[in-house]
């Protein structure tokens, strides 16, 4: 895919416990910011893609495509997209397909979630809608499912609790530089290891939080005609040059291996091929660190390091700002927050800002190619995007 799909505008709310804002307030704030930044008018937005996972389950309110679009005064096509925690990435992927097909030229993609209005047990139950029936009957939760993957990794490769804690410490450091983050402060090794256990071997600080928030992008087709391949804009724009989705079993136990997320490999290889780049060309990445082991698995499955070495890769500081390959400069899901359907779009925004050299204290020097990695469930759905300036 050449430089056809431009990230024309971005909008992001603060992530956190935002009790004075409704789902619609959040979606509106992010969307209007993205439209304003794009320089387009409301009337030029032809379609709205709304990513949301659990609002219908928690509030009884569905039909979010039309509800969000109409609250913005948009009258064109509207869609609600659900793919568990990969809902945001999926919405971006589908929006891109609509632009490549030539159906629309300018679209809004907004991911929004309001999770802190209900008790934690209700959220844990609602999120398990992304798991399988047999997992729900076993009393499993997502922390427990990823804990099983972590224990398998520890057994096979000798990955340690400290390896995993390093992910949390690094991402909290990055979040301390991000005013939009839910937890903009640093944590220590002791804090991570000694916090309450949620599911062995994980403590609370191995897990991403329950969050409210919204993220929005305006995507524009830069095609002159259906037959054209690309246009130049003086190098000022950021383009999505690769977009791929891969699928695996929803049930973790049915997978060929507990030591990897195979759909990450499939989606990343497709996306890199579309973009015409290799993994070694990536200068900055936002990956799906819903739990600390997930970032270690992502490093291995995306090909940043060899299988079984993800813990050491993070421990060496390679993925910290200033390191060779900064990962999750936003603070990731762990510390920036994880309003589930907003996450995949927030990742696109963070990488876009990095490539536009507007990431402030979190700026990665020389960033010109970036990657985003958004996972649904334990890897039943994976979406990978490649962005280039």
């Amino acid at each position: 895919m050449n430089k056809i799909i431009k990230v024309a505008g971005t909008g992001l709310t603060k992530f956190g416990e935002l009790w004075n804002q409704s789902l619609y307030d959040l979606a509106k704030e992010a969307s209007l910011e993205a439209i304003r930044e794009s320089g387009l008018t409301i009337n030029q937005i032809e379609a709205t893609f709304v990513a949301n996972m659990i609002h219908g389950k928690l509030s009884g309110q569905d039909h979010l495509g039309a509800l969000v679009a109409s609250s913005l005064g948009l009258k064109g096509a509207s869609f609600r997209i659900e793919g568990a925690c990969a809902s945001g990435g999926l919405a971006v992927h589908l929006a891109i397909q609509s632009l490549l097909a030539g159906t629309y030229k300018n679209v809004l993609v907004v991911g929004v979630e309001k999770m802190t209005d209900v008790p934690t047990a209700d959220i844990a139950t609602a999120l398990m809608g992304a798991g399988s029936e047999i997992e729900r009957k076993a009393g499993l939760t997502f922390p427990a499912l990823y804990a099983l993957m972590a224990k398998a990794h520890m057994q096979k490769y000798g990955t340690t609790r400290k390896h995993m804690a390093n992910v949390s410490i690094k991402n909290h450091y990055h979040a301390s530089l991000n005013e939009k983050a839910q937890f903009p402060y640093e944590v220590t090794m002791e804090k991570v290891l000694e916090s309450p256990i949620i599911s062995t071997p994980f403590t609370l600080f191995d897990a991403s939080p329950i969050s409210d928030g919204a993220a929005a992008v305006v995507l524009s087709s830069q095609m002159r005609s259906f037959a054209s391949s690309s246009v130049e804009d003086g190098g000022k724009g950021v383009y999505i040059t690769g977009s791929a989705v891969a699928t695996d079993t929803v049930d973790l136990a049915s997978r060929k291996s507990l030591l990897e997320i195979a759909a990450t490999k499939d989606a990343s290889q497709k996306a890199l091929k579309q973009a015409g780049v290799e993994i070694k060309d990536i200068k900055v990445a936002e990956v799906h660190d819903c739990f600390t082991i997930a970032e270690i698995l992502a490093m291995e499955d995306l090909g940043f390091c060899s299988k079984g070495r993800g813990g050491e890769f993070v421990e060496k500081g390679t993925t910290k700002l200033g390191g060779r390959m900064p990962v999750n400069t936003s603070g990731g899901l762990k510390a920036c927050g994880h309003p589930v359907a907003a996450t995949g779009i927030k990742q696109i925004i963070e990488v876009t800002h990095q490539l536009q050299k507007r990431a402030g204290k979190r700026q990665v020097m020389g960033a010109n190619i970036g990657l985003t990695h958004n996972v649904g469930g334990t890897g039943g759905t994976v979406v990978v995007h490649i962005l280039q300036s």
Binding site: I134, T141, L148, S199
Partner: protein
Amino acid sequence: MNSPVTIWRDHKNLHNYLNKIGRVIVWTKILVPPTGFEHEAPYLVGIIQFSRERRPLQIVDCDEKDLKLNQKVITVIRKIGKAKSEDVIEYGVKVKPI
């Protein structure tokens, strides 16, 4: 919890999963449970390798300190979650060490 008709349908197949012997390939102890399992926490859940498949199942009648990798287990029928006083009680498959 599941509807009465779903429970009725699932119960008809329970016998297919009884007295199966497997081994525990990985497990976790859950301290923060989902709705309906609060009364059981903390509890153990493992991925159990059977001859033809792997399944995630609760491990009962066992302390974590006594559990070891490749522990042999057998399937048993137990209550799933906690039914309210007028709900249909749901049963399902769990494993216990042998």
